[in-house]
Assembly symmetry: C2
Homo-oligomer: 329 residues x 2
Amino acid sequence: MPVSLAISLDDILDAARVIAPAAFCTPLIENDVLNARCGRRVLIKFEGAQRTGSFKFRGAYNRLARLDGAARVAGVVAWSSGNHAQGVAAAARLLGMPATIVMPADAPAIKLANTRALGAEILTYDRHSESREEIATALAQSRGATLVPSFDDPFIIAGQGTAGLEILEQAKAIGAEVGQVLVCCGGGGLTAGIATAIKGQSITTAIHTVEPAGFDDTARSLISGRREQVSPDARSICDALLAPSPGALTFPINQALVSGGLVVTDDQVRDAIRFAFTTLKLVVEPGGAVALAAMLPGLAPQGEGASVVVISGSNVDPDLYAAIIGGIG
Amino acid sequence: MPVSLAISLDDILDAARVIAPAAFCTPLIENDVLNARCGRRVLIKFEGAQRTGSFKFRGAYNRLARLDGAARVAGVVAWSSGNHAQGVAAAARLLGMPATIVMPADAPAIKLANTRALGAEILTYDRHSESREEIATALAQSRGATLVPSFDDPFIIAGQGTAGLEILEQAKAIGAEVGQVLVCCGGGGLTAGIATAIKGQSITTAIHTVEPAGFDDTARSLISGRREQVSPDARSICDALLAPSPGALTFPINQALVSGGLVVTDDQVRDAIRFAFTTLKLVVEPGGAVALAAMLPGLAPQGEGASVVVISGSNVDPDLYAAIIGGIG
């Protein structure tokens, strides 16, 4: 029996029209040293160049733009370690609505500062003892505000999928067939969106998720067939990818469309950040580097066509970045 | 009496055909925070994404590709603080010819290492006591090799100009009219190429050079009408822009086509590098950051149309970069 999935290619085409006035088309970049090192043609989709420095603005704007007048006045509430926070804050500002974001007290300083600079109200919580869902849900209810999930929402997923539309168009423009796409995966919203956009137009293109070790819930779920949980003891430098399990909406999509899940260590992530600094000349945050971290040591299957590596975000504190590129992080 | 200039738009169109199989089309990137800060639409032409991490590959490949069989066997000699070195080394390797590069002993380690990794032989010299021109010229003569100037050569200038063709095409694709272009300027080859490409198609677009304080020979020359010299006591962190005077071929072009010369301090360059890290998510070397360094504090004249800022290169040592983004460099 076919599963009913939360979104279709048409939803992503619709999202592309909605976000076009506000979002940027991010570059698809090729590098000869990367190609030589990987023994294949690699194309980097650089979402660090998206508004707010990650792909998250795409979904946030697509979601918030759907709210009607009364809902806009009441505003929105979200929880996020920082990239969804900035995406929601930026979209809310552009659409003229108040935003409150529940963020971990230990979120990267750059993410807290940027979210605040975008005009959002910030509530911090302790990641290890408090529930962000409960805090945000109670807040939204008390204010009559709309809760904006970070991945498990059809408009969010469709918005993230616009990156997939761009990948196919940009690859075509340089004469590349896309054989596989490696996507950084937390809750699976970006993967589900990109997979829907790409499989809907290019059924033979393989989609792979990439997760940090310890947060490989999607990789394990793809094998077990049910939504696995992250251990509460797991730790990673990839602050953007710490979602505790695949989403109720994202997982069925990814189960249907994703070929498999790759897993990288924090040391492989640091290597990827250094490579991006030295060779690609792109700033990448830890969570945004996992797909590159899988490509560099050859973790992705070989196959026909170009390999697209999504760099999903670039919001990293200068101290951590300096330590990593200096080889001491 | 009209001056005869070293290259024309046709030479650049020809260069574009020659380098197309080897060079990348680098991205033109827009950022909302940059637009808001500058009070105008700004487009970043990111040459850090070019092969070897700077625009220099464009001219080097266009020059070396013109050599015939015997000249290819004898090989090429160049002098450079590092970006032209890498451009020549990469082009020579692709075209199957030996390359020897005369480089300052205190060139950035990343530039020395990358040039060596590209298969070139490196001779180092002391910047303050020895003449790189004399060393390289003697070497080329003794080997029958071709000397490849870093800017004062028609094929080099035409190759660099291909970046200007891309700027106009890419701006048009996003519906932007290019009102002005700010170009990082050392010997003036990139400026002369871009100015020829752009003025040949869009006569109302203003071209401005940007130089580091103390190395403002082009700005002064544009005023005095003759090729001014840099003081031997001048120092700057912009290692890529330390040419002692405008070129014999580049200066007449720039005199005819450039509206004026802007000058930035090393502190403004550091601010621009930090802004590119924090907001643009692009790695930029000091010499590659001068045009952005002029745009951020509003040194460029206001006018109609978008302002294009060329980031010319991104080869910076991790220690220096870490110090700058940490605010201690």
